[in-house]
Every structure is written in structure tokens, then in C-alpha cells.
Amino acid sequence: MTLPSTVPILGIPWADILFALFAGTMLASGLAVVVMRDIIRCGLAMMVCFGALAGIYVMAGAPLVGAAQVLVYIGAISVLVLFAIMLTQTKTAPTRLAFQTQAIPAAIASVVLVVVVLLAIGSTAWGATADQRATDTSAVATVLFSDWVLPFEVVGVLLLAAVIGGVFLAKRERGKDVLE
């Protein structure tokens, strides 16, 4: 039995349901990241957000990026963040306010920004947008090493510098922290 092209009652394509699921998860977990009190839970919500985002990437026709998203963001950056949370724990942290006194102006600013951007998006004629291409991975590889080889190399150097810098910054000083 084949599925109908659209959901029976609602008349929405199945792909859109999936898309909606991913989108909702992404936004909900994004809110959870910025709102929740316990920072560990924020980190975990962030991982969920990244996962949903990876799904959206795949649906947008960029599977390589989606894979890289999972590997890099969920696998590396989120873990890094969780390690940092562990290392910067204080005893009194959970009982205090999560938000600053400028939270309300920040909220207002965020809302206004969304409104402005949505207005911009809504008022633009995007032209023929029904077309959507799935990206070939080999095409990505070709472009990466032909048009974008310089940024690629530079990013490599950047990562090296970041690693060295991170190690240096986080290094403990000899003999100083023994007494702590």
C-alpha cells in the first residue's frame, strides 16, 4: 500500500509533517536552552536542537552538512560545553536567578528583531522558489577543493591555532593550583 501524497484530512504533504516536527523540536529545545535553570539540562537541550537542525538540513537537500552537524556540533562542541560546565560548577549556582536584570529589555529587543526580519522576509518576492535541489556530495567535494580550497586551508590553520590557544588558556600554572 502506498501512502497518499498528502495527509488525508489535513491535505499537507508528508514531508511537511516531518519538517514541522523537526522545526518544532528545534524551536522548543532552543527555547529550553535559553530558559531552563539547570545548565546541564540546557546543554542537553542544545544537543536535541542540533539534532533537529541536522534533520532540517537533510530535508533541505544538504545531507553532508547534516552529517557534519551531528558529528561536529553534537559530537564535539556539545561535549566540550558539557565538560566546561562540569569544570565551572559552583555550589550556589542552581539557587540563584538565571536571568539578568536586563532580561526584559532583551526579550523585547528579540521580539522586535524577529518582527522586523519577518516583515523583511514577507515583503520580499523570492521568485520561483518551488525548485529545490539535493546536493551531490561529490559536487561538494569538487567545489571544496577547487573554488574554496583557500578558505579550507585557512580554516585548518584556524583550528590549529584554536587548539593551541585553548590548551594554553586552560592550562594550570605550575605550583599555583596545588594549594587550592
Binding site: Q102, S110, V112, L113, L119, A120
Partner: protein, 663 residues
């Protein structure tokens, strides 16, 4: 020769002043030698110059002798020269100033002998002589004004000579300030003269003769009407010669040493105003209304001062008010157009008032610095020379013939009556009665009757040394004879064509022509005789009234003083008595107007300056500081606050793009 001699008259006392100012302290008791010597030589030169000027010898002639020393202010077509001018009027003033000045200098050797500031006194006296001589010898309004101010300065220094006495310092300040008020008028007058002479073909000028001639020749075409010029000049004279309402400084000026009172406030400085009006007589003659003002103020001052002198108990105060009164006579005389009479009275008054003041100084010296007449009395035999000379002076001022005062006073009153100013004559007669009365009251309280001197002082009362009594006698001689001398050449008892009139005729001729004065023949058995008798009669009445109340001890005429009658009379006129005692409350009025009300205005202005003006500036600064403090709170040091700012900027930019793109 006179180009050197005339300036030398000024230069000698100037040298004396400078020498004494620099070296005086070291000389101690010898400090008087140079100043007195300088004035003595100046006297000799001055008398010689005066003799030549009055006899119209060359180079004086009828017009007088003018000599320019150097060009002081060259300013294009306007030029002020520093120079001297000597004519008959100058000569008369020179005689008075130099003679009395020399005698006061000699007198001060004795009077100020014990004072620690001996050298300072002579330095100031010489400075004063310089100023006064410059004033009478100067040939331009500006020179006269400079000398005017210098005289005021010398007066200030001399009144406040005893610096440690607060009353003296205040009196000096008061004199200077009240003078200053008059000086404003004088300065405005000079400026008016300058403005009026701008139309002259040779350019503007402040030379006395040239500017006065120009103003009198074109009285109706002047930019500033001539009566305004006359009144402004009179304002200056009012200040210097203490006419109402600027008279308040003269009685207080008695705080200075007695020689100062004699020299400055009887004989010379207060005459500067009279001299000024006499010098500019043709300007006044061109403005008859101004002359009426002068006469009115003059005679009013005369009676005001005479009424106050009746109740004063300080011997010097009585003489001060007497001076005010006689100066009023002089201005009344100028105001009615009797210029020669005014100068006559100036000369005679200088001598007998100088005599009276120096005499009073001798009395004060004898009773050990006591100035209250209620604690004197019976001094006739103890200080005989002082007594006799003061008696001579009193008879002179009361106007008893044939002493000097009679001639000059009768001349003024007679001219006033004949020139149509009968009201001036009437008031003048009343003043004559009062004058005789209070002068003999003074003599009665001081010399006659029982001694009321403090018992501790009485045994030590002694006559003054010759250095003080000689000037007294030397002044008594002109007091007796000057009237007779200056009226030589005319009918007896008449001053119209006497010696003095002859001297001053060229000076006042333009003014008298303008006023259409015809010298009438003297009618001894007509109007002139009648006026003469009235003058003598009132003088005798006043004198007799004083004798009745305060006693007399002249040879065989002895009446006892009558204090009960005095008290009875004062009880019958309480208001007049109190008014007279309180100097008609003018000092209180001045205090109210200027100190109290003026003080409030000044306080308000101070408040205004502090709160409105200063605070505006301060608030501006405070606003800036406050704004800075508030704006500083933006710098919280927290990155998130700064990030919020960035976010807001981002929103604004995005929104603006959106709005602009939508158009």
C-alpha cells in the same frame, strides 16, 4: 622773569613736600625747617607777583599774564597746555592763600610740637599748598580739575591725620566722598565746556580764558545750553565749598588738627568754589536763571548753618558752621551779580576766620585739649593774648564797623538789595543777627563769666608760646584794617570804586556788562546809608542779645551770664532747639538714604549677583557634571549590557533599511 617766578610759587612747596616726605622722619623736631622755609620764600615771590599784577605792571597789563610751561595733551586740533595765568583775581587769591598758609605753617610749629607725626603734618601741609596754588594759578579747566582733586586728597590726608582715631578716619572719608559727588558735576561741566567749544575754528579748548570767551560770545548756539554748564560748574563748587546739600562734611572735618581747620576749612580750600564761580563769572552772567539758583542755595546755606551754630557746644563746630554761613554769603553775592563783593568777603573772611580758628586752637591747647565750651569760661585773664585776638575776630565777623567784616558784609547785602534781590537781603539780615549772636555766645562761654574748667586742669592753664600767638596778632591786623584798605579811593564806607574794585574791574567787566550793572553813585544819605544803618543795627542787636544771655566783661561793661533765661528760652522753642542741635537731621537723612536704603539695594544686588549670575554659571557647570555622572552609569563593565546596545543598534538599522526599502 615772571615765567620763572610764577611757576616757582608752585615748585617751592612741591619741593618742600617731596623733601619732607623722603627725609622728614629722620629730621625729627627739625622737620619744619624746609617746609616753612619753602612756603616763606613762596610768600615773598607771591607778594611780589601779586603787587605787579594788581598794579597792572608789565607783563601783566589789564588782561593778565599767561605763560605756558609745556604741552600736556597734544591731540590733534585739541590741545591742553600746562600753564599758569595770573590776573587781578589770581593775585587776590594768592595774597589770601599764601599769607594764611605761611602763618598756619608757623603756628603749627608750636601746636603740633608734641605730635609724633610732626614731619608728616608738614609734608601734607606743603602738599596742600601746592594743590591750592596750582588751583588758583592754573590756566585751563583741566589743570584746575587736577588741582581740585589734589586739594581734596590733601584735605582727606589732613582731616584723617590722627589715623588711630576712628572718628577722624570716618570724617576724612566722608569729606572725600561728599567732595566727590560735587566733582562729578564739575567733571561733567568740563566735558560740557569741551563739547561746546568743538565748533571753534581753532578747535576745542579747555583753556580758561579761551573757552569762557567762546561760551560767552555764543551763548545761544551751544550744543549744551549754557545754563546747564553753569549749574554743573556750580555743582562742583557746592561740593568743595560745602553748600547745601553737600555741606555735611565740613562740621565733621573738625576732627582734624586745628591748624588744618584754619587753613583748609576757613581760608583756602573752601574758597576754591567761590574762586571757580568768580573765574567763570561770564558764563554765569549769560545764564541769569542759574545765578538765581546760586543765590538761593547760597543764602539758604547761610541761614541753615547760622541756625545750627546757635546751639553747638564744641568750639570748633561753632566756627565750622560759621564758615558755612559766610560761604553762603559769598555764593549769594555771586548769585546776585556782586562779584567784587564776594571776593572782598572772601579775603576778609579768610583772615578773620583763620584768626578765630587759630585762636580756638590756642584755647584748646590752653585747657589741655578740651573742646566743649561748657567746660570753659573765665579764661579772659589767663590767656590774655588769645582772648584779645579772638575778640577782635569776633567783632570783625559780627560786622561792627570799622572792622573788615563790616565792609564786606554790608557790601554784599547792599548790592543784593539794590540789584533787586530783596529776599536775599532780608534773609541775609537775619543771618547777620544770628552771626553776631552766636559769636558772642562763643566769647561769653569761653572767656567771660565763671570758670567751669575741670578742677584738675585749671592750675595748668597757660598762654600759648609766641610761635603761636604771633600769627594770631599778624592775622588780627588785617582783620581790623583790611576793609578800610581795600575801599580806599572811593567815597567813605563804599566799596564800589575802591581799591579792590579797581583791581578786579577788568576781571568782572564782561560779566557785569552782560548783567547790565551800572555802578550808581553812592548815596550816603539815601538808600545806601539806610542799608548801612540797618546792617549795623542788627549786628548790635545780635551782640547785645548774646551779652544778655551769656554775659559780658568788657572794661566797665559787666553783665553776668544768665543760664536760667537760656534754659527758659530753649524750653519755649523745643522744636527749633532740637532741630538746631541735630543739625536739622541732615546727617540722619543721608544715613537713611544711602546707608540703609542704599545698603538694602546693595544687598539685593549682591544676592542677585550670587544667585542669578553666579548660579547660572555654576548650574551650567553642575549640569555638565551631573550629566557626566549619569552618563557614566552606562559604563557598567558588563559585556551583556554592551551587547544589548549592539542588538538595539542592529534592530534600528534593520528597521531603517526596511522602512527605506519599502518606499
Amino acid at each position: 622773569m615772571f615765567e620763572v617766578l610764577v611757576p616757582a610759587i608752585i615748585a617751592l612747596p612741591l619741593g618742600g613736600f617731596l623733601f619732607t616726605a623722603v627725609f622728614g622722619r629722620r629730621l625729627g623736631k627739625q622737620a619744619h625747617l624746609v617746609p616753612v622755609g619753602a612756603v616763606g620764600i613762596a610768600w615773598l615771590i607771591g607778594m611780589w607777583v601779586a603787587y605787579n599784577a594788581l598794579t597792572n605792571a608789565e607783563p601783566f597789563g589789564e588782561e593778565g599774564f599767561a605763560h605756558t610751561l609745556y604741552t600736556w595733551i597734544p591731540a590733534g586740533t585739541f590741545q591742553v597746555d600746562a600753564g599758569v595765568f595770573v590776573d587781578g583775581l589770581t593775585a587776590c587769591l594768592l595774597i589770601v592763600v599764601l599769607t594764611i598758609g605761611l602763618l598756619v605753617h608757623v603756628y603749627s610749629i608750636g601746636y603740633m610740637g608734641h605730635d609724633p607725626g610732626y614731619w608728616r603734618f608738614f609734608a601734607y601741609l606743603n602738599l596742600f599748598m601746592v594743590s591750592m596754588l596750582l588751583l588758583v594759578l592754573g590756566d585751563s579747566f583741566l589743570t584746575v580739575f587736577v588741582a581740585w582733586e589734589l586739594v581734596g586728597l590733601s584735605s582727606y590726608l589732613l582731616i584723617g591725620f590722627w589715623k588711630h582715631k576712628r572718628s577722624a578716619a570716618l570724617a576724612a572719608k566722608k569729606a572725600f566722598i561728599v567732595n566727590r559727588v560735587g566733582d562729578v558735576g564739575f567733571a561733567l561741566g568740563i566735558m560740557a565746556v569741551f563739547v561746546n567749544t568743538l565748533d571753534r575754528p581753532e578747535g576745542a579748548t579747555l583753556n580758561l580764558r579761551d573757552s569762557i570767551a567762546w561760551l560767552t560770545e555764543h551763548p545761544t548756539e551751544l550744543a549744551i545750553p549754557i545754563w546747564i554748564v553753569a549749574l554743573l560748574i556750580f555743582a562742583g563748587a557746592m561740593g568743595k565749598s560745602a553748600q547745601f546739600p553737600l555741606h555735611v562734611w565740613l562740621p565733621d572735618a573738625m576732627e582734624g588738627p586745628t591748624p588744618v581747620s584754619a587753613l583748609i576749612h576757613a581760608a583756602t580750600m573752601v574758597n576754591a568754589g567761590v574762586y571757580l564761580v568768580a573765574r567763570t563769572s561770564s558764563i554765569f552772567a549769560s545764564a541769569p536763571d542759574a545765578m538765581v539758583v546760586v543765590a538761593a542755595i547760597g543764602i539758604f546755606t547761610a541761614i541753615l548753618a547760622a541756625s545750627i551754630a546757635m546751639t553747638q557746644t564744641d568750639i570748633k563746630r561753632v566756627l565750622a558752621y560759621s564758615t558755612l554761613s559766610q560761604l553762603g554769603y559769598m555764593f549769594a553775592s555771586l548769585g546776585v551779580g556782586a562779584f567784587t563783593a564776594a571776593i572782598f568777603h572772601l579775603m576778609t573772611h579768610g583772615f578773620f576766620k583763620g584768626l578765630l580758628f587759630l585762636g580756638s586752637g590756642s584755647v584748646i591747647h590752653a585747657v589741655h585739649e578740651e573742646q566743649d565750651m561748657r567746660r570753659m569760661g573765665g579764661l579772659k585773664d589767663k590767656i590774655p593774648q588769645t582772648y584779645r585776638t579772638m575778640l577782635i575776630g569776633s567783632i570783625a565777623i559780627a560786622g561792627i564797623p570799622p572792622l573788615a567784616g563790616f565792609f564786606s558784609k554790608d557790601e554784599i547785602l547792599g548790592e543784593a538789595f539794590k540789584l533787586g534781590f530783596q529776599w536775599v537781603w532780608a534773609i541775609g539780615i537775619v543771618v547777620a543777627v544770628l552771626t553776631a549772636f552766636y559769636m558772642f555766645r562763643l566769647i561769653g562761654l569761653t572767656f567771660w563769666g565763671e570758670s567751669r574748667v575741670d578742677k584738675a586742669v585749671e592750675p595748668h592753664v597757660h598762654e600759648s608760646p609766641p610761635v603761636m600767638t604771633t600769627p594770631l596778632w599778624l592775622l588780627a591786623i588785617p582783620s581790623i584794617f583790611l576793609g578800610l584798605v581795600l575801599t580806599l579811593g572811593g567815597p567813605p564806607l563804599f566799596t564800589g570804586t575802591g581799591l579792590l574794585a579797581g583791581w578786579l574791574h577788568p576781571v568782572f567787566e564782561p560779566a557785569e556788562e552782560l548783567l547790565h550793572h551800572d555802578p550808581e553813585a553812592f548815596q550816603l544819605f539815601g538808600i545806601d546809608g539806610a542799608l548801612l544803618l540797618v546792617s549795623v543795627a542788627v549786628a548790635v542787636i545780635g551782640m547785645a542779645a548774646a551779652w544778655r544771655l551769656f554775659g559780658v566783661n568788657l572794661g566797665s561793661l559787666r553783665w553776668r551770664p544768665n543760664p536760667e533765661r537760656v534754659r527758659e528760652l530753649t524750653a519755649r522753642m523745643p522744636f527749633l532747639y532740637r532741630a538746631s542741635l541735630n543739625k536739622w537731621w541732615f546727617d540722619d537723612l543721608n544715613h537713611l538714604l544711602f546707608m540703609v536704603i542704599g545698603g538694602r539695594i546693595a544687598a539685593f544686588l549682591w544676592w542677585f549677583d550670587r544667585r542669578v549670575v553666579d548660579d547660572t554659571v555654576n548650574d551650567l557647570a553642575a549640569t555638565t557634571v551631573g550629566a557626566g555622572k549619569e552618563l557614566r552609569r552606562v559604563q557598567t563593565g558588563r559585556v551583556q549590557n554592551y551587547a544589548l546596545g549592539i542588538a538595539l543598534g542592529l534592530i534600528v538599522m534593520a528597521g531603517s533599511f526596511l522602512v527605506l526599502a519599502a518606499r
